[in-house]
């Protein structure tokens, strides 16, 4: 099929884990399909990343230029398009991350590439690659076939495979930047850190987490009572913070916080992968949801499939009673 290109993702001096996850998956692919794994690193002052990536790939293509100090979709797109034209890989993998989805669709249109987003797995059917993705927030899986000739382009979901230990010694090949000067209509200004709140939920031992299932702000009272009974801090899904029931620093998930409490009680939360990513490391997870197919149950230790409004008052009452 050709080589597998993996775009290295980094920000603020940190190489992001999704890069190593993709390289791990790519290694499995080339074992079956032939070709090499190629990490594509675009940046400035990131030599240490090139060395790290060499441990995970057959080759590192390193575009090292001050033009790429900060990520910029326009510049990345230009560089990737040139590299794809020059090296003609079989498959290009970009993380399905806030960076990847800001970049990949435009690249797919520009180069007219067969393109599938948010891929969670790559299967082989009759010797051909089939990307698997999901619909309806994880309730349905779909297999796709690429119809045209490679290169193919996918965005690959974070945390679907575990990064292996480094086991290669790829060669680092410096590539001259196809871009010679600043271009375009988009300029990076700065990063603004997330707001900090009164409670740091990443430090909480017990968390009661609330989702859209409680329907209305006034029902937060039920959550507060339960939290009081078990001395928990309150956090929530994005739906809960968007609705204004909680402040944004209490949001758990990819665009919020990653928490690892002793106990996490999820109430009326469906368990979108962006939420699961932030809480599946909790030691014990209790989920209350009336939908038996809710993905939250895939990570739960205790499942209560029922109407939260019927379960919560009694749960709180009983907990108070037992704890005196």
């Amino acid at each position: 099929m050709g080589d597998v290109f993996v775009l290295a993702e980094h920000r603020q001096g940190v190489l992001r884990e999704v890069t190593l996850e993709m390289l791990t998956r790519a290694s499995g692919l080339v074992e079956k399909l032939g070709g090499e794994t190629v990490a594509v690193l675009i940046g400035s002052g990131v030599d240490s990343f090139a060395e790290k990536l060499a441990g995970y790939s057959d080759k590192v293509l390193f575009v090292d230029d001050p033009l790429f100090t900060d990520y910029n979709s326009e510049k990345y797109q230009k560089v990737l398009a040139e590299l794809i034209k020059k090296y003609n890989p079989g498959l290009v993998m970009i993380g399905h991350t806030t960076q990847g989805v800001d970049l990949a669709p435009a690249l797919a249109v520009e180069m007219n590439l067969p393109f599938v987003t948010d891929v969670i797995d790559l299967e082989f059917v009759d010797g051909k690659l089939q990307p698997v993705r999901q619909y309806y927030q994880g309730k349905v899986n779909a297999n796709f076939a690429f119809k045209a000739e490679p290169p193919y382009l996918i965005t690959f979901r974070e945390a679907t495979v575990e990064a292996a230990e480094p086991s290669r010694q790829g060669k680092i090949e410096k590539v001259e930047s196809p871009l010679k000067e600043e271009i375009g209509y988009r300029r990076f200004i700065e990063y603004v850190e997330a707001e900090v709140g009164d409670v740091d939920i990443t430090q909480s031992e017990i968390l009661v987490a609330v989702g859209r299932g409680i329907k209305e702000e006034k029902n937060m009272a039920l959550i507060e009572e339960l939290a009081k009974a078990v001395k928990a801090d309150i956090c929530g899904s994005r739906a809960a913070t968007d609705a204004g029931w909680l402040s944004h620093d209490r949001q758990v998930g990819t665009s919020g916080k990653t928490v690892k409490p002793k106990l996490y009680i999820a109430i009326g939360i469906s368990g979108a992968f962006q939420h699961l990513a932030g809480m599946k490391g909790a030691k014990t997870i209790v989920a209350i949801n009336k939908d038996p197919d809710a993905p939250i149950f895939s990570v739960a230790d205790f499942a209560i499939v029922d109407d939260l409004f019927k379960v919560l008052p009694k749960l709180t009452e009983k907990l108070k009673e037992l704890r005196g």
Binding site: R11, V101, P105, F115, V192, R238, F302, A303, K310, L319
Partner: protein
């Protein structure tokens, strides 16, 4: 400011059981309830806020069936000026790049400063249409924007990254911005607006009206093809608590306390 906002009608499947139909390539949607896509609701609000602050127009674009007119009228009631709905069975709606091509052909034929889309559709979740649309239009973009400041001939967009960090970028107009939920507080449509919306123009177009050939947007022209849909096997290690609601509550409370989980 001439703003376009793209909205999609989506099923609410957060509580519904999803079943694959007999073809194995579609789902049985007969029992779903539908609404405007979450992020698009915020995009409509953002467009109307910009119009209120800077003047100009808001045009609503939607590809979808006649049932989507309810959501379109709602966007018009909130402050949209007119709307275009594209409804044509020849379009391969399964392919986000085809959706983008169609939306682009609507917008391209007119003057525009700003195009707002949602950053993700709740149902299909490709996170692809907005950025692909920008490339089709040949204009810059910023994806997943949680704060937007409109300045003279440019915008400052706060892209929300992992961990809630914002990447601030400055973009020259015209541009496409994909809106993240939580950027504003979507209003309810005022009664008067709902009445007025009935009189606003809503054009329904086919690809021929857009100057698109069938082989640019049909299934045969797509470079990927759906092979099969199936319900994933979910492995759960969870202990399922049984009984009436109160019994479940009691059992769970006992487990938490006696199991030393608190």
């Amino acid at each position: 400011m001439k703003t376009f906002v793209c909205i999609k009608r989506v099923p609410d499947t957060s509580e519904a059981e999803v079943k694959v139909d007999v073809t194995g390539k579609d789902v049985d949607s007969s029992r779903f309830s539908f609404d405007i896509n979450d992020a698009d609701n915020y995009a409509v609000e953002e467009a109307v806020l910009i119009k209120e602050a800077k003047g100009g127009t808001v045009q609503v674009v939607c590809m979808g069936p006649q049932e989507a007119d309810v959501m379109i009228r709602m966007a018009l009631a909130k402050g949209g000026d007119n709307a275009i709905r594209i409804d044509d069975p020849r379009i391969n709606v399964l392919d986000p790049l085809k959706v983008a091509r169609v939306l682009a052909s609507v917008i391209k034929s007119q003057e525009f400063d700003l195009v707002l889309t949602g950053c993700i559709a709740n149902d299909d979740g490709s996170m692809a249409v907005g950025v692909a649309l920008a490339e089709e239009l040949g204009v810059p973009h910023a994806a997943m924007v949680k704060k937007l400041v409109v300045e003279d001939g440019k915008v400052k967009a706060y892209r929300e990254l992992e961990g809630g960090i914002a990447e601030v970028v400055e973009i020259t107009l015209p541009a496409v911005i994909t809106i993240q939920t939580g950027i504003n507080e979507p209003r309810y449509a005022p009664i008067r607006g709902i009445r007025e919306a009935q009189k606003k123009e809503l054009k329904v177009l086919k690809i021929d009206d857009l100057g698109l050939a069938e082989n640019e947007v049909n299934a045969a022209s797509s470079l990927v093809e759906l092979q099969k849909l199936y319900i994933p096997v979910v492995v759960s290690k969870a202990e399922v608590i049984e009984g009436a609601p109160e019994e479940k509550a009691e059992i769970m409370a006992a487990k938490l306390v006696k199991g030393g989980l608190l």
